[in-house]
Symmetry: C2
Subunit: 378 residues, 2 copies
């Protein structure tokens, strides 16, 4: 049995609401190494977006470098395609020389027909890689007339199908947005208005398709056309996704099984909802206080420094939303409602700071002040 791990969208160097995730990324990369060792995996695929941007920070380069050095120690090849976040030319430096060392960086459209051949005993798998490409790059590389992402992607898939052996185990890697899939907030739109979608149909004829770009693990069109999903949750919208890698097993005849192996981050990405007091009370006994937290407050009154108060119990709170405020933003407030609102806000604020209600005398002063402000405005 030849075993392959499919993963994608590492986005090394990513930040979540200004928090660097490098240490978190290092932890799950270690888990991938452990899976590779425990399952005696023969190759690792990364289907694009290795880095979060074309010029990654030096620390992200160091992290990837350390990872491939560890892979080299156990003699496991890595096959990467470049994604829309990667700088193909930058990442592909010395890629020709690196092949011999088992580091395959596929970032060149003109090489989509050249497979990386994996072999173990009687089992051979040919891995073809289609890096992320916009239609213009495809036109430029092939001198063809493709219009739009779908035509461009189909063209590239057809290039591969024109040369591959039908009887062999053919695995396709591609970094693209397959139409009809579930999206997450952390994915970058490739093009406005949905024109970035490509069809799954041309990819049916491969034994397995290892996709990258969408961050939620999912299949589309057939069980063997899959997104492994991203390395970590890169937005709070992903808080309920189960991140992981896909373990594939091939025999001489094709894909025997695939399996989702969960990645366990050192800090979870969680969304908490409730009144400020409730969330703080929950935090005091929360065994995972260190998680990356977003809080949705349902309080109906104005609050003094809720972020500061929450940070005492949840040191890694990264984002705060007020559901009432969010709901209110949908309505068009009239002038009277706003006036009444201002008095209430001040009363709430006063109570929070002093612990008492305003006296009728104090309220009179506030009302008079507000009135004089509104008079000046009018």
């Amino acid at each position: 049995m030849l075993k392959i791990i499919h993963t994608a969208d590492w986005h090394l160097g990513r930040v979540l609401h200004n928090q660097s995730l490098l240490a978190d990324q290092a932890v799950v990369l270690e888990q991938i190494l452990t899976y590779i060792k425990d399952h005696q995996v023969d190759a690792l695929l990364v289907a694009g977006d290795i880095y979060d941007r074309s010029i990654p920070p030096a620390e992200a380069i160091k992290l990837l470098n350390g990872f491939i050095n560890q892979l080299a120690l156990i003699n496991v090849p890595i096959i990467m395609i470049t994604g829309n976040h990667d700088g193909a030319e930058r990442l592909s430096f010395a890629s020709q020389q690196l092949q011999a060392a088992g580091v395959h960086i596929l970032g060149n459209l003109n090489q989509v027909t050249v497979p990386v051949v994996l072999q173990k005993a009687d089992v051979t798998v040919k891995v073809y890689g289609i890096p992320y490409a916009d239609p213009e790059s495809v036109r430029d590389a092939f001198g063809c007339e493709v219009k739009g992402y779908d035509e461009a992607h189909t063209f590239l898939v057809e290039q591969v199908k024109a040369v591959y052996e039908h009887n062999a185990n053919n695995l396709l890697m591609s970094h693209c947005f397959v139409d009809g899939c579930e999206t997450s907030e952390s994915e970058k739109t490739l093009s406005i208005g949905g024109s970035d979608r490509v069809s799954f149909e041309p990819m049916m004829d491969f034994n397995y398709v290892a996709l990258g770009h969408l961050h939620s693990p999912q299949q589309r069109g057939a069980d063997h056309i899959r997104y492994s999903g991203s390395l970590l949750k890169y937005s709070f919208s992903e808080h309920q996704q189960k991140k992981g890698v896909t373990l594939l097993e091939f025999d001489e005849k094709g894909l025997v099984k695939h399996q989702h192996l969960t990645l366990k981050p050192q800090k979870e990405v969680r969304v908490l909802e409730g009144l400020l007091e409730e969330v703080i009370a929950q935090g005091k006994t929360d065994p995972h206080k260190e998680d990356y937290i977003m809080v949705r407050l349902t309080d109906q009154t104005a609050l003094l420094d809720p972020m500061g108060k929450l940070r005492v119990v949840y040191p890694n709170i990264l984002h705060l939303e007020k559901t009432l405020l969010t709901q209110a933003m949908g309505k068009t407030p009239n002038r009277d409602a706003l006036k009444r609102g201002a008095e209430h806000m001040i009363q709430d604020f006063f109570k929070q700071v002093t612990g008492h209600e305003m006296t009728p005398e104090q309220l009179t002063i506030i009302e008079a002040t507000l009135k004089s402000i509104h008079t000046q405005e009018a």
Copy 2:
């Protein structure tokens, strides 16, 4: 005989007065390849500053990538150390994997004692590389107490000398500023006030020292301690330097000879001096009109758009200096001299635009106008 070419300070991606030099760099890199083939060279050394900055443009990466692919075709290893312009971490990505392919990127201080071993028949040369390092990096890497660049560099050289075999052919590469050497305007100062200088004495005990950092080819302290100089002239101050590479020949016992091989740029960097009319006349019959030109004008009168006029004959003129203006900037002008100056400037300007001298009437108007301006100023 084992043959090595020593070169340094490529600064791929450099611009000269806003002019990209990538195409020029590609031409001389081709010449280095030709020298390697013609002389049957066994290894190429680049003593730092491969790129012009830590984040080089993608086009510079592509150029280096193409070059190492060509070297791979003829099976010649390349050994690079990182310079002060390079991003050591960025350039060193996958350096461990690249060694097997003959691409040696030495950017890690903790590896200075690990040589790249070159061998041909009976001749062995061990190449040790000291990447550019400021004293703080040395303290950090070794937990030692070195003060200043000289102590830091000596410390690193001593690390190598503590492990090397005295009887072997030992070659040291280092990117540093050796005290007493000739400088050029295109070198970046490492530290204010000369504290970046290091002594040559600790390096005497090597068979050859391949230096990088200073852009003029030169030796210092001994004939075998040499700067090869930069790939091209990177400032007009270098217009009289002879750029090239150094060809070394070793037998079993050591360095047999070294030789400077000239690099011939597609466009020379030249400085022309004279009156505007003279320089223009010379340009009309100049067989090397396409060179990168700086002009020093000796005209004593004001000139209308000299840059535009010169560009007609010298399309790649990059810089213009007026010697009189330059000399005048040394003096403190008094108010009277400035006043007389303004009238003369206007007369010159008028003559250039119209082809005639001003009439006495016109001059009277100018004088009156200048007077009224000065009255308002006072």
